[in-house]
């Protein structure tokens, strides 16, 4: 059967390798110095969606992301890899959202998209590591959730079979659609950009991107509708702004502290044989090892 698939994706700062150039003098992180990337597990989710599309002709893959204007980049990235379209949910009202307010906004956008069989997203984003948005979106939509997936298969008649990676094993479950599935990093990596799709979508932009930085090929969008990435505001998805952003977030940040380690008195050693010999003797003598 053909499926309407929605993939939730997030643009995140690449926190995995915070180098020295990304640190300010006071020891805090300069977010602007970190590259913004497609959240890694959301790419695993996109691959699962594209495989479902390959196996079920007539299916569509639609990306949905919430973020600033710049987040349109990851929709383009998704189009280059095989998605059929995407929506950018962007509004000042969404700023400062915790996971609950984020999932509310996303669920309202999904309701607006309306015709969907399956929502797929990464297990968690690398900037927060909470793994909360997937299950919370499922609850808000009133649909079942299947977390930590490594493989999703449609087995006909509106049913999927999902292999899940558990902490100490694997589990295979079946569920009726619609359902939400979160995908684990251990699932297959996403296919690379496709040269033909890169050509087709390289001028795909949002209306606000065209407004803030007009480009020579923007006129193409007049005749090619697929070159416009749709932008939705809070009002556009009929979201109650009291439930969005900071005001819709039950958790509040009370305090942020930069990390300062309490320094211990430590012994400095060199890599010279004599130093290592001495250290091993000491550790053996005080029964730490041996």
């Amino acid at each position: 059967m053909s499926l309407n698939i929605i993939v939730l994706a997030k643009q995140v700062p690449d926190t995995r390798n915070v180098g020295k150039d990304a640190m300010k003098e006071d020891g805090t992180v300069n977010r602007a110095a970190l590259p913004a990337i497609f959240n890694p597990e959301d790419l695993n989710a996109l691959e699962q969606a594209l495989r479902l599309k390959d196996e079920n002709p007539g299916s569509t893959v639609t990306l949905l992301t919430m973020g600033p204007a710049r987040a349109a980049e990851i929709i383009r990235e998704g189009l280059f890899r095989g998605a059929d379209g995407g929506y950018l949910l962007t509004d000042r009202a969404f700023a400062g959202a915790d996971t609950l307010a984020t999932s509310y906004a996303l669920s309202m956008a999904i309701r607006k998209i309306k015709d969907y069989d399956i929502v797929i997203c990464g297990r968690q984003a690398i900037d927060g590591d909470t793994a909360q948005v997937g299950p919370q979106v499922a609850e808000k939509l009133g649909i079942p959730q299947v977390t930590y997936a490594e493989n999703i298969r449609c087995i006909g008649s509106g049913t999927i079979e999902v292999r899940r990676r558990l902490e100490r094993g694997v589990e295979t479950v079946q569920t009726a659609l619609p359902a939400l599935v979160t995908v684990n990093g251990s699932a297959p990596a996403c296919r690379p950009r496709n040269a033909r799709l890169l050509q087709k979508y390289k001028h795909a932009r949002t209306a606000s991107e065209r407004k803030t930085a007009p480009a020579a090929y923007d006129y193409l969008a007049d005749s090619r509708l697929y070159l416009t990435i749709a932008e939705w505001s809070a009002a556009g998805v009929e979201a109650n702004t009291a439930l969005c952003g900071l005001s819709g977030s039950p958790t509040k940040v009370k305090k942020i502290e930069n990390v300062v380690f309490r320094a211990k008195e430590s012994k400095a050693l060199s890599a010279a044989d004599a130093d290592i010999d001495e250290l091993m003797k000491e550790l053996i003598l005080n029964h730490t090892i041996g």
Partner: protein, 329 residues
């Protein structure tokens, strides 16, 4: 009413370590708050649960026992907690940041419209009686204190090994409440069915090892990680890894130490090529002796190390093996 609840995971009737740790923490917090500690177990074959949890100072144990509730499934466990919490109105609800807790917690918090903080490394009560949920954030470069001022319950998850496990009073007796599961779940909660399940015992036991040789991104390659395995084998330890090393494919995920991995307290921790982001340090700072092998004298981990060896893994580790062998002969 307004008590502190701990959702206890069980497997084959046995209450999980992480849940026992949370009961220990929960007992302290409940005493500070002047409220009762209540535990919830949902599963099957739970006759032995009471004897397992009461010594941790549990005042009330809520039992939901039904063959359909084990193994864990998201929807029925959510339905039970949502109704129970709506009736009992806990002020605080804690669960393990495990595969189960991280599946269940967000769904329950969404249904109740309450805040949830994942992977806390410390929990405290402030002067107003609010739960301070402390966790490293943003790649471990800052520590954030989160509060839920208005919504109840204040929910938090904590990883296994982060809190200490301590019997409160071996003779402590609380009250047991057995529930009619039918009144809490509906047929539609069982739409997800388990077809096949394969659980294996983990072969890697980092948590229980007195000596850990851990490697970071600075180890440089999977090949160099072999040196860590050699040293660990010789001195009788396990190999651990930082998140960066796991992400780079140098080590298995099961070896990850830190906020989003395992928390360890070994006698000896040898940190090789680990810079020491707070996310990692949160999982190993209570080690008795810390040796840092690093060619960057400014590595943050050096601040908490007892011994700092300025050098590379390739140079230092073979020497450690050599002189260990020499001195134990």
């Amino acid at each position: 009413m307004n008590n502190l609840f701990v959702y206890c995971e069980t497997e084959d009737g046995l209450v999980a370590d992480v849940s026992r740790e949370l009961l220990t923490k929960g007992r302290h917090l409940a005493t500070t708050l002047g409220c009762r500690l209540e535990a919830v177990v949902i599963g099957h074959g739970l006759d032995g649960a009471a004897a397992q949890v009461f010594p941790f100072g549990v005042d009330v144990l809520h039992i939901f026992d039904d063959s359909r509730l084990a193994p864990y499934a998201s929807l029925p466990h959510t339905a039970i907690l949502v109704k129970l919490f709506s009736d009992e109105k806990p002020q605080v609800a804690l669960m393990g940041a495990t595969g189960i807790g991280r599946d269940l917690g967000p769904r329950v918090s969404s249904a109740l419209g309450s805040g949830l903080t994942a992977d806390c490394t410390a929990l405290e009560i402030d002067e107003k009686g609010l739960l301070l949920q402390i966790r490293p954030a943003f790649g471990g470069n800052i520590v954030a204190t989160i509060i839920n001022p208005d919504c109840r319950p204040q929910m938090a998850t904590v990883r296994e090994g982060v809190m200490k496990r301590e019997i409160f009073d071996a003779g402590y007796k609380g009250e047991t409440r057995l529930y009619e599961v039918e009144r809490y779940v509906s047929e539609s909660d069982f739409v997800v069915s388990i077809i096949e399940r394969h659980i294996e015992q983990s072969k890697i036991n980092i948590k229980g090892s007195p000596v850990i040789v851990a490697g970071g991104y600075g180890v440089g390659s999977k090949d160099n990680f072999r040196l860590l395995h050699e040293l660990a084998a010789v001195i009788g330890g396990e190999v651990g890894a930082s998140r960066a090393a796991v992400d780079a494919g140098f080590a298995e995920h099961e070896r990850q130490i830190g906020q989003t991995g395992i928390t360890v307290r070994p006698k000896l921790y040898i940190a090789c090529g680990i810079s020491g982001q707070i996310q990692h340090v949160a999982g190993m700072q209570e080690s008795s002796i810390i040796i840092s092998v690093n060619n960057d004298p400014a590595a943050p981990i050096n601040a908490i190390a007892d011994y700092i060896i300025a050098g590379t893994v390739e140079d230092v580790l073979p020497k450690m093996i050599k002189y260990y062998k020499k001195n134990t002969k």
